[in-house]
Point group: D2
Chain length 416, copies 4
């Protein structure tokens, strides 16, 4: 029920028990294929195993129940797979592997699929930001620091800032995705059961799955996982920043943007709730917590950890799902966003020109020196007489336009 609210359907599927199971089977299959290719197991056995893996007649919930004893779902899966394969080939199921090989590899496959979804979604959200930055390149609005109107900026620059944040985060996530390694180490990272063929099988295994071949088995070197988790949480946080800004801009008293209708209350029809923005913030908070589990799990005991490894499974699924949830939610918020440029202009005038105080100071300072100019301006504002000079916010935008152009150029060169 909550998952449906937070996470897109496609992504829910991609982190589901079923997706993990498929990924575990893909790992078992790739293992058999690689071992056959290396001449370690009969080719027929590999074919039989691959066929059984494809069949996919396994029930994840049951594997979970049966996994309570050994503490992971791979042992029951291997038993079930052997039963499905039958005959001599059954002996070659999971040949020389350890449960963690399969589960870690599966995790990488799941992560690869979901990060692809996220990267695609981020590209679309970035596109929405870019469109706003472009069309509002010169739309003046109040910049707000500590939630106080400070000086003029443009809505284009604000959107460009969102865009750059997303691009920065996306780059980190893409890098983490590239590095996702296959895992194959046997019980303790030596690949002893594979004899002399260990390194070769390891290479073939990774190639078969399209994952990176690691330097060494990484059963308790979790740097890659923690990096992935961080990149996810950072991505979700970058989306959350946009959501927070949108919710603030959508406030009744500010009214500069509104999400496309959707979150309308029956008893309070005047409300246009910033639902996408809200969910983006919520997802960012969850993603951060899941990433914290992954970072905390770095110190793992010896060759397989007592609990911190296990804590990663739901944390990784959660970080993936909520990050995509954040991207999706903020995408929904931006899609069809109503931007009220008139209200932006009106808000700039709310303070009787006070938002132009900085510029007035700088103008006056050329005659009077900085200090006297500042005092003069402060006094004008304090007495409510307004600023003597009649300044236009549109004339005090500095490099805003150039910055927008830079952001758009970066966007185009990276994502188009």
């Amino acid at each position: 029920m909550f998952d449906e609210i937070f996470v897109p359907a496609e992504t829910r599927d991609a982190v589901s028990d079923r997706a993990w199971l498929d990924a575990m089977l893909a790992a078992e299959r790739a293992l058999a294929v690689a071992e056959a290719r290396a001449g370690l197991i009969p080719e027929q056995a590999a074919e039989a195993i691959a066929a059984a893996c494809r069949a996919g007649e396994f029930d994840p919930a049951e594997l979970g129940e049966d996994g309570r004893g050994p503490g992971n779902p791979v042992e029951p899966l291997v038993r079930a797979l052997r039963a499905a394969v039958q005959g001599d080939a059954a002996d070659y199921v999971h040949w020389g592997a350890t449960s963690q090989d399969i589960l870690d590899t599966a995790a990488m496959l799941v992560a690869r699929d979901v990060t692809e979804l996220i990267l695609g979604r981020l590209a679309r959200v970035a596109g929405e930001c870019a469109a706003l930055a472009e069309s509002h390149r010169d739309t003046p609005m109040a910049a707000r620091t500590l939630l106080q109107q400070a000086v003029p900026t443009t809505f284009g620059l604000k959107a460009a800032g969102w865009l750059v944040g997303l691009l920065d985060a996306r780059r980190g996530l893409a890098r983490a995705r590239e590095a996702l390694p296959a895992q194959l180490g046997s019980a303790a990272g030596t690949l002893a059961p594979l004899g002399d063929a260990g390194v070769e099988v390891s290479r073939l295994f990774a190639a078969e799955l399209g994952l990176a071949e690691p330097l060494l088995p990484w059963h308790t070197n979790r740097v890659r996982i923690a990096e992935l988790g961080s990149a996810l949480a950072i991505t979700a946080g970058a989306a959350g920043k946009i959501g927070l800004d949108l919710a603030l801009l959508a406030q009744t008293e500010v009214g500069e943007v509104a999400e496309a209708p959707g979150g309308i209350s029956s008893t309070m029809p005047q409300k246009r709730n910033p639902v996408g923005s809200t969910l983006a913030v919520a997802c960012a908070r969850q993603a951060a917590a899941q990433a914290s589990v992954l970072i905390a799990a770095l110190p793992q005991e010896h060759e397989r950890a007592v609990g911190s490894w296990h804590s990663e499974w739901p944390a990784l699924s959660g970080a993936l799902a909520y990050t995509d949830g954040a991207a999706d939610a903020v995408g929904r918020a931006l899609d069809g966003l109503q931007v009220n440029a008139e209200r932006m202009r009106a808000n700039l005038e709310l303070s009787g020109g006070a938002v132009m105080a900085e510029q007035a100071s700088f103008v006056l300072a050329q005659e009077l020196g900085r200090q006297e100019a500042q005092e003069r301006v402060a006094q004008s504002l304090a007495t409510g007489e307004g600023l003597a000079t009649d300044l236009d916010p549109g004339s005090y935008l500095g490099s805003a336009g150039t910055f927008v152009d830079r952001a758009l150029e970066a966007y185009r060169s990276e994502l188009r």
Copy 2:
């Protein structure tokens, strides 16, 4: 698949979408009942609503999908409920309430049910610790500080320490459970739609549900939720402490305990994996992360938050589920635990009596003064000649027995 491994079936049910839905329906029903009792809505309407709530013909996944627009599952539920009620009574569904009233109240009902499961389980786990403390009250073993053998202690005292940790944590959780409040405030905490009857309805509503009546609506005062989250994480951590100790004691080189068979590896049959202990540690890590979401969510905007409220829903479910998972896992580890008192004794002698160095120092100090005594002992150990005195670990246990008795007394007075 992972949920099955980490969380007992009963608890999975108790935090499931279905359980949340039932709890939301219970809240809607109680609201109607309370309002009828207060004369605010017709009694027949309340009956019709209650009947529709009992029917429970709603699909949580669908409510979740429909909840993406408004950002919560209550709005679609209310629509569906009105459709189910039909006629004039439909108008009185959800009368004067806001979505958060229903969802917060549902959260408290879910929390109440799951914490009851946890408290029960903790009592059983405490019983297991108590039994160990009692039967091993005088079983000497090495105490270890920074994982180095330090001085003798007893396995009874170790188990008593676990027991007291559980009792401490359980007390906090029971207190948090007692405080779980109903939520009823209407859109903004004033109960304006209920006219003069607000406070009365609020009282009746809480009474109907058996929840505490809060001083005020607490839409954005989340102290109770954060306290509950902390109490859960602390409980899980107290269980994790036991798991960690057990896994350390079960090490091949230590061998002082072994979990009852279960986690046996097919290729390495000598291994007796401390699976329960491991899962307890994993669950504690997850519960801590979920609690961190709840604590971070304390600062909520105005009368309803932009995201931090929403982030609580999965966090609360997660904290509840993983805490019970931790309790269950450590209970499984303790249940049928094999305690090897001989190995404990043998380990004490591993160091050629070095573990008695402190006592030797104290004995010698009576003749030689502290400093010289310590030097003499250090020298004996350094030269490998052993300690001159022939000391028995069983003679250097101080107040261990008394402490065990104290812990057992506390256990008996609290839980039996």
Copy 3:
């Protein structure tokens, strides 16, 4: 530099190295006193030790440097103390204790002192909230859900909500403070070096320091510490909630409150930065992180942990300091807060009466039924024709006044 900004001077002192050192010396002194009283060490020795402890001629930075070897500052302190005591009495310094006994007890003393400061400050902040709740009991303002104006509320009710949050949090903190226990267990919790006098010395030691006597030594039962950490983070979060609301109310476009002058920008004199509010939010975030360290530290190895114990020291200091920082900052924000009731009223009218839509619906529903009434109201708002009925926000406040009275009564009975 940052500490000065975040943490009041008195509190900085109370968590300083010097304060920890004083507390460690207090623990050593109380140990000697208790042991003398129990007849375990000569009274003269206790007097000599107590005198040396009072003298306090020790340099915390140096103890820190010397503590790198043993991994804690107690070992060098004991050496230095023995040197200061001289003679036979030197042998009785730290008699039978372990470093953790002293450091944990010192932590409890530091915590007791700082929590007293915090409780006092919370009482004052609560007083400020109470004063606002009382004087603005009937001042209407817009309630905002998801940052959208929803229905009317009162500023009094908002302040009452803050007040109740603080009272709730304060109660938890006071309870955690009451429970702060002395620590005395010797190397491994058996008090073996104290022979038969262990339990008696333990009692006298706690009494001498005015700390709770624990059931058992709690070297690796960290429930109390985690509870304290949580209570601190929750308190800081309750303060952060107020800060967040104030910053939102102080927005240029909202303008309903302003902090007393202080944060004025030289180039932008129109800005009245909500600095206290901002710092409260910042402190709450830090306190939460420190508490997360304490909760994560619950699973500690055997009789002394490998690192998680050590991670508590700065975390506890940090949680204490930032929690007081949050309370102090929000106190500064509230002290001299300018409340603009006219602006509150004006903001209510911003939407052309839309904020009264809910009431209009309820009024019309009596004639037309709920559904038609809602449609009529929605239509009126959509066409911009305004609501037919001329409703006064002050007439739709439900139980707001009663709730304020309840909060004030709770405040008075608890804190006056």
Copy 4:
């Protein structure tokens, strides 16, 4: 006192108030220099300002106290700097900049310096791991999964795993360091006070400081900061992993390594406490918490945040300090580490050959098939008759040696 224990002196200095102050002055100086170069301010003014900045006659604690009002230390610093500069040049101090420009840029300078220390230290620690990997390339020891002896591995492979973890983490940290950007945006990111020269000044400013020039001002795009924080926590975690393994290997009952003397207890001279390992674990826990603050701070309001920005200051200092603390501590643990290869061998034999069960299964499987072979082995172990085959752990190391060689090659190509 605690800082001295956790953090090397050089690093304490590098994150001290004084270091931050120096960095803020460097930023003010570079700003004046860049603006003079761009023809925006008189060259003499820039010289006078640079001279005043070099002088450095400012007291950070005082700036902190004075910073309570504005909520940051830059405003008082600018005032003090203007007073120090005197004359017309004073007007050009901080010309066109905002407090956050200076403080963010200072943060990047501090981060650059400390990360350089950390990278250097990591290279040394990696060197220690490499030396161990090389000299123990073929030293057999038991691999342990879930803390149970599983199969043989080598100490060389274990050290190679540590090495690769460090290299992985170090690469991420170096990348984050490369990306550290200067901050210059004026009040709201438009650089309006700099007129047409904004972009040019921005470029010169970054160049002057040797920091990266950002695409846009990044006042509320905190992705770089969060990435830095994550990279730090991950580095600390990789160090913590080594510390944890060392502490486990150093256990009395395992005795395979011992840290060089240092942590010796006076009353228990047999203890060789793994102090460096312990502190590494403690530091990793703290660094993770600080990073969590930085990740949680990603969603920042509009053009300057209400608190989350402020929360970053101590978090960044803390993450830097504790990460270096972790690296330093584990370096101390490894430096002079006593490796007991005989004990490793002896431990392998502890189980009467059980650790060879996997190999025995594989050998027998060639005759009997997998299933029967496994049953035969399990039976042999169960009956205590031992394994029929006389297997040597040294003969079942698979690709361990090759993996060690790979790790060493990576180390050499990256760090030598």
